[in-house]
Symmetry: none
Subunit: 536 residues, 2 copies
């Protein structure tokens, strides 16, 4: 039996941007659009061109290759023709494959918020959809407040859906804008829309998590016949967030009740990268991943209870609702490091480091990693530092150079003209083969000054590190107060196209940065000696 | 029409204890039991007396006054009589009102995990329930793996429920132990149990969040006829957590689809304390509350979008699915470059700042906020800095003191014994009423040293800031590289219990920290003059 296709529509870059504390730059948006495209999402909504400079810039080019690239905007204003509406024309001119219009579908809002008539609103929907099709683009309509509108005036809410459908909108998306609708209500109302003559193959669902049921509401709509789901990465979004696609995707693909009946545009191979993608997105937002997140959280397949743990070893399937590998996650038994040891062996082998399972150095390495992670180091995000730690334990890293001392200074004062002036300076003293090299540099801030000074004179190694540069720098405070422990992660790159992450931890942000900078340089020197095979 | 009663069963102290990273002491348990009892929960499950010293100690006394105090444990072992089973007898002797037995209801587990026969398992259930009733306690049975068991062998799963019911168990709780069952399956299977002759008034639901649907699964069971819900505070629990009672309670009490039909043991007055309770519980766990938590998160009623914000002012009810006050939360219109003029007016008024909509200073303030947010400032997370910016624009902040200059130094070198030593020092020069004050301090890192030096001698203001301290510090790098722009957010507190956030932005982390520290101190001085009304 052929399966029915469910279409996935991502609005991370539009509704996700409404999350308090989240502001994407154009570069962030480019990166995220690429992640979504690569995952196999059908529609990537990029923002609202014309509404702000970032989104206008972002829509100067098409930003996806496989996915349909979607611009969001309002339907044409009442009282002007489509061709005379500047907002609509900005939308039509943006580089997108499709336009998703937001339209009122609750008569109360048509009157109070738009200040127009019910018929004019229907006409705006029709004219906007037609203008989009005339521009050879795919049209979609988000019916705002659809479920509340339906409860207040079902005839008018249905008339809005029909106006969009009859004008040729590919999708009409039923939005639970307030986020307060319950799954049973979603099921009943979606069924009523389909019974009124609009086919489910043209209906989508847009759910919010205000009662913790955005995922259930999305699935209830699918069960009732809708075939498109709108959501975001990690469920970001206004108030309590949007439907979490990172939860919905594996549920559709792995739970028999859906997987037997439906298919998505996502391959099992891409599904196996889901945990990595979810964590990379959190990294980009500079926030810690939720350990209890369904499917992708570090605790999602962790077992603490002694009774369960031994049963899991007997028969994992009865205690795990899906295989953790399917989403790129792994089983964690918190009572025994048996599973841990084989993980380490796999991780070391992946880097070309062969060591026997019974080698006592392996136990020492595991103990050291555990101790350092307890201090705040995080090797999950710092591959190169982990590899250096392992190679040092196994005796494979020479002492190329030694930093005898460094000093960083930041001074802020008023200059002769009364302007504030801030200067950052660093001095570094390095010994190489018994010879001392001193370097001094100014920079934008103390860490930048230290970085420049460190790489200014490494004697005979200097030519080797000329093609290396820092590409990213992240700081996370691990507990409260200015005397808290600080973790610094640094990404470095070189002209070969390689990228590597290193980590430093200290109660002093400069010291933590120094550790990560040192690891980055040493890793580059080891790599140049072709000892290291860069991990995928 | 009289409403049907839904009973709430809290397992924070038992299943919640399975959360990775959570370990309650006896004192913690006493505190939490009191919070639950006060809230109006019907059943408080305290743990497993006999299984570990903490739980054994905790069950030496009854720990609730109104709520039934419940001990958890296994049914009697096969092959011994109830009176000869030491585990069962420890349970019977614990100071509890009720015992909740965990029982296998999947024949596969009876055979593989228990190594006994189906009939012996039924006999264990019956004998354990009867012994509990003979000891004048209320009996309950958690049917482990009930839904998976029902799918594999419905007759046997039903036989277990019936054995418990017929022996006189007050509640039989259907457990989705793996957490993978979907709401529609829950609904179908609970209905089948009721159709088999066990009344819904004796059935409970125990759901896990492995597909993000623990709340929806719990409510689906209620809709199918079950009348007891098991869950935890803030949804803590093994793997992805248990059903979140903090989400379920307001949904049952405030959403008409449930509230018209059901009632709980919780009063509207206690519901209004829910946000406070949820945050107090996070405080006890030493973790930051989730800003996006349904109902109780600080963002749950926050609006960033300008178009929505002006509509909310016209008619809050159409944009808020429940009144925020009902759960002790509040409406928030975020000040951000997406916000419109009406956001600003509301936010200023909330701080006691009256300004006319047509006042040109309002436009200048909005322009300044937009310009600074484009530079990287984020005022939605830094209330106090926003308020200072507004008050400065409107002429309300005196120049208490002036920092003429500061200098921070970090030095790392080897001491005489060859140990690495890192020292951070800061020097600050401040002018107050024409008089210069110089202070120097060492700290854990340059920011800590600067903080200590800044607050060391503020002359005539010194006594005013003695009761002030920093409670949190966050660093965010806004784009890549060590020369990137850095945003620092600082939370401060004082002995009155107030908390306030300030922000600084610079390409220099020290400079950004300095700005945020300065705002924090100035805000405290302004606040002391009672000019400021602290928000929420």
């Amino acid at each position: 039996m052929s399966k029915e296709r469910i279409y996935l529509f991502d609005t991370t870059l539009r509704d996700g941007q409404q999350t308090p504390g989240i502001d994407f730059s154009v570069e962030d948006k480019v990166l995220i659009a690429r992640m979504l495209d690569d995952l196999g999402i059908d529609y990537v909504e990029g923002g609202y061109p014309g509404a702000n400079p970032t989104d206008t810039e972002f829509f100067k080019k098409k930003r996806t290759s496989k996915a349909q690239f979607v611009a969001f905007g309002m339907t044409k204003r009442a009282g002007v023709s489509a061709s005379n509406d500047p907002g609509l024309n900005a939308l039509l001119q943006a580089s997108s494959d499709a336009i998703c219009f937001v339209a009122k579908s609750w008569d109360y809002h048509v009157r109070v918020a738009l200040g127009t008539t019910n018929e004019e609103n229907l006409e705006s929907i029709r004219a906007s959809v037609e203008a989009t099709r005339a521009a050879s683009k795919v049209a979609m309509v988000d019916c705002e407040h659809f479920f509340d509108g339906y409860k207040a005036n079902p005839d008018y809410a249905l008339a809005c859906v029909k106006a969009a459908y009859e004008a040729g909108s590919r999708w009409i998306v039923l939005c639970d804008t307030n986020g307060g609708t319950q799954p049973e209500e979603i099921r009943r109302i979606v069924s009523a829309v389909i019974a009124s003559g609009v086919p489910g193959s043209h209906l989508g669902i847009h759910a919010h998590n205000d009662t913790g049921q955005a995922v259930a509401n999305s699935l209830a709509a699918i069960e009732a016949g809708a075939r498109q789901i709108q959501g975001t990465l990690n469920g970001i979004g206004e108030r309590c967030g949007n439907a979490n696609l990172v939860t919905i995707i594996p549920t559709l693909m792995l739970k028999p009740v859906y997987a037997d009946q439906f298919e998505t545009g996502i391959s099992p191979g891409k599904l196996a990268g889901l945990k990595k993608l979810s964590h990379a997105f959190d990294e980009l937002l500079n926030r810690a991943p939720d350990p209890q997140a369904p499917y992708v959280g570090s605790s999602a397949f962790a077992t603490k209870a002694g009774i369960h743990a031994s049963a899991i070893l007997k028969d994992p399937q009865t205690y795990e609702h899906v295989p953790p590998e399917a989403v790129g996650n792994e089983r964690k038994l918190m009572v025994s490091d048996q599973g841990g040891k084989s993980n380490f062996l796999v991780e070391l082998r992946r880097r070309g480091i062969q060591i026997d399972k019974e080698d006592p150095r392996l136990d020492r390495l595991i103990a050291q990693v555990k101790e350092r992670e307890a201090q705040g180091y995080s090797y999950e995000g710092a591959d190169a530092s982990f590899e250096l730690l392992a190679r040092r334990m196994l005796g494979g890293v020479p002492e190329f150079f030694k930093v005898e001392s460094f000093r960083c200074m930041v001074e802020r004062r008023y200059d002769a003209r009364g302007n504030i002036k801030t200067v950052s300076e660093a001095v570094v003293k390095v010994t190489i083969d018994g010879e001392t090299h001193m370097s001094v540099a100014e920079g934008h801030g103390p860490v930048n000054a230290l970085d420049i000074a460190l790489r200014k004179d490494l004697g005979k190694y200097q030519t080797e590190i000329e093609d290396m540069w820092l590409t990213d720098y992240k700081v996370r405070i691990l507990n409260g107060g200015t005397d808290a422990v600080t973790r610094v992660l640094i990404e470095s790159g070189d002209s070969s196209g390689d990228r590597w992450w290193t980590v430093g931890v200290s109660d002093n942000v400069i010291d933590a940065s120094f550790q990560a900078l040192m690891d980055a340089i040493v890793y580059k020197l080891v790599k140049n000696r072709e000892v290291i095979r860069l991990a995928g």
